[in-house]
Structures are given as structure tokens and as C-alpha cells.
Symmetry: C2
DNA sequence: TATATACCCGACTAAAATAGTCAAGTATTC
DNA sequence: GAATACTTGACTATTTTAGTCGGGTATATA
């Protein structure tokens, strides 16, 4: 059970941005340097964030990215969704007509995994970008 | 964020076993057939479960595996630990003297991931094998 | 208007993890 | 002694992850 770097970096980068005045474009280059994340990788990540209406871009010199909404209104679940990061506890598709192992019924532990999935998603659903405590001690 | 098949199958197999009278050896072959899990794979899984004192083995004809404790006393967290399945939300090692990105401080979102890790582990810690509702409807 | 900055975006790749297979055993019961 | 079933380490194909790269386009500023 592991969180991938893409979502992790996405949250890190957005947290970084949220420390600056809103409407002030923050360049990926700066984020890259401050957070030690590859610039190329950040580009990939921000493409998704943009497509999902979490940030908007400002092109050209002094450009960068800007949070599209107040950090209070950005749920972590949105960020994860943007990066196709799903919490998957079962191999079997929930909405499939067939059961889990090619059998007719649900697998014996199906309900447990569903429960776990809901439990974890709940965490992300209730956490906002603004909830991260960004003290000066942490960069 | 994905659960691997090894832990999932482990819980499935143990749930399967817990439906039978305790002290009645259940063979991997039977579990394999009922739950559609490869016998070879189950062997690998049960090796770990045995090493971690969750099941004990009975060799020979009519042998199999037996739960070493009452399902009420088997926490899911134990099963996961047995299979080296850890909940990992950060790349950086917690106990390392260095910070997360080779920097001196913790990464900006470190506390968040710690919190998530604790949150998820909490789920497994509080869930017992006996908590799985094994109705006849599910196999 | 030239130039540097910074976003845009698809294609590519190395490395690691996962999922599963296999073989050659040993112990036990019937 | 034959069949059943656990024992254990080694091996492998596939998938996923993490990250790189190249060749763009848009815009501000000097």
C-alpha cells in the first residue's frame, strides 16, 4: 500500500504555491528548486492539475501557475483524482455484473475492501489544502 | 494507492478457513479451489503466515493449515505485517537523521503523510478476522 | 522586435515491484 | 508404499512507477 510520487509531489507543489500571495504566478522552476522535484516531472503533474481546474497557467516571462481557488476550497481528493490516483483495494470492478473471481458472487472479503476504500477516501475528502500546517520550519 | 494481491489473498484465505471448525485442518488445495487463487501462490503466502504465528501446519494426508488463534484475536494488521505489506506514504525514512529530499528539514507535507499512515494503520489495527461478515451468500 | 522565460504535450525508457510459476523436496496417514 | 499435503528457494514475465527528453508555443520586457 504505497502512495505514488506523482500525487505526493502534486500536494507538495500546491502547498508550496499556497504560501505565496494568490494571483502571484509561481514558476515550476522555482518550485522545482525549493522542493527538489524534477522540473520535467512537475510539468507532467501540472498539466493534469490544469486540466482538472485546480490551477491556471500564466505564460511568458514572469509567468507560472496560480491556484484557481482558495486553498480552503481545494480538497486533497480533487488533487488525487486529477492525477488518476485512485484508492484501489480490490481487483474486481465494483460495477461489473460478474463477481470478483469470475464467480457469480462477491469475493468473501469484498465488503471489507469496500469499507477500507471508503475509509481512506474519506480522509482525502475531508482534508483541504489549507489544512496543511506550513510553518516556516518546514520548507 | 493499491492493495497488493498477496495481502488480499491472505485475508481471503484466512476468512475462508475461519468458516470451518477450529482445529480442523483446511488444505491449501481446497482454499485454492474455493477462492480461485493459485495453489503455488497460496503456498508462498502461508509460509509467511506460519512464520508469523498466525497459522500452524499439519502435514500429511488430511493435513492442512489451522488458525493458531481465535479469529477474534487475529488483527488484520498482523496479517499485513506478516506479508511485509506496509503502508508507505513517504519515500523518506522516518528515523533517518537527514530530511526528506536530502534537505535538512522535513518536507513540506511530511506531517500530512504521517497522519495518513497512522489513519490507515488504525483501520487494520482495529479490525479482527472475526469482524468480516461471512454470510452464506458470499463464498 | 528580439530574446529570454515559462508553459505545452506527447513519446520514450530504465528500474523496481508485482504476481505468479516451478521444482525438488519432506512428513504423515491410510 | 502410495497418496496427500506441507516446505522452501529460485526463477520469470508483466506491469507500474518514476523520471527524462525534445521540440514546440505564448508573452512580457528591454
Amino acid at each position: 500500500m504505497k502512495l505514488n510520487t506523482k500525487s505526493r509531489y502534486a500536494v507538495m507543489a500546491l502547498a508550496d504555491m499556497s504560501k505565496f500571495p494568490i494571483n502571484n504566478p509561481v514558476s515550476l522552476r522555482d518550485i522545482s528548486l525549493r522542493q527538489s522535484i524534477s522540473l520535467f516531472y512537475l510539468e507532467q503533474i501540472f498539466l493534469k492539475l490544469k486540466q482538472n481546474d485546480i490551477v491556471k497557467s500564466v505564460r511568458g516571462t514572469n509567468g507560472g501557475y496560480v491556484l484557481k481557488r482558495d486553498p480552503k476550497n481545494i480538497k486533497l481528493s480533487e488533487i488525487f483524482q486529477a492525477l488518476d490516483q485512485k484508492v484501489k483495494t480490490v481487483g474486481c470492478k465494483k460495477d461489473s455484473k460478474k463477481g470478483c473471481n469470475g464467480k457469480s458472487a462477491k469475493c468473501i472479503t469484498h465488503e471489507l475492501w469496500d469499507e477500507l476504500e471508503i475509509y481512506i477516501n474519506n480522509f482525502f475528502e475531508n482534508k483541504k489544502l489549507s489544512d496543511l500546517s506550513l510553518t516556516r520550519g518546514n520548507n
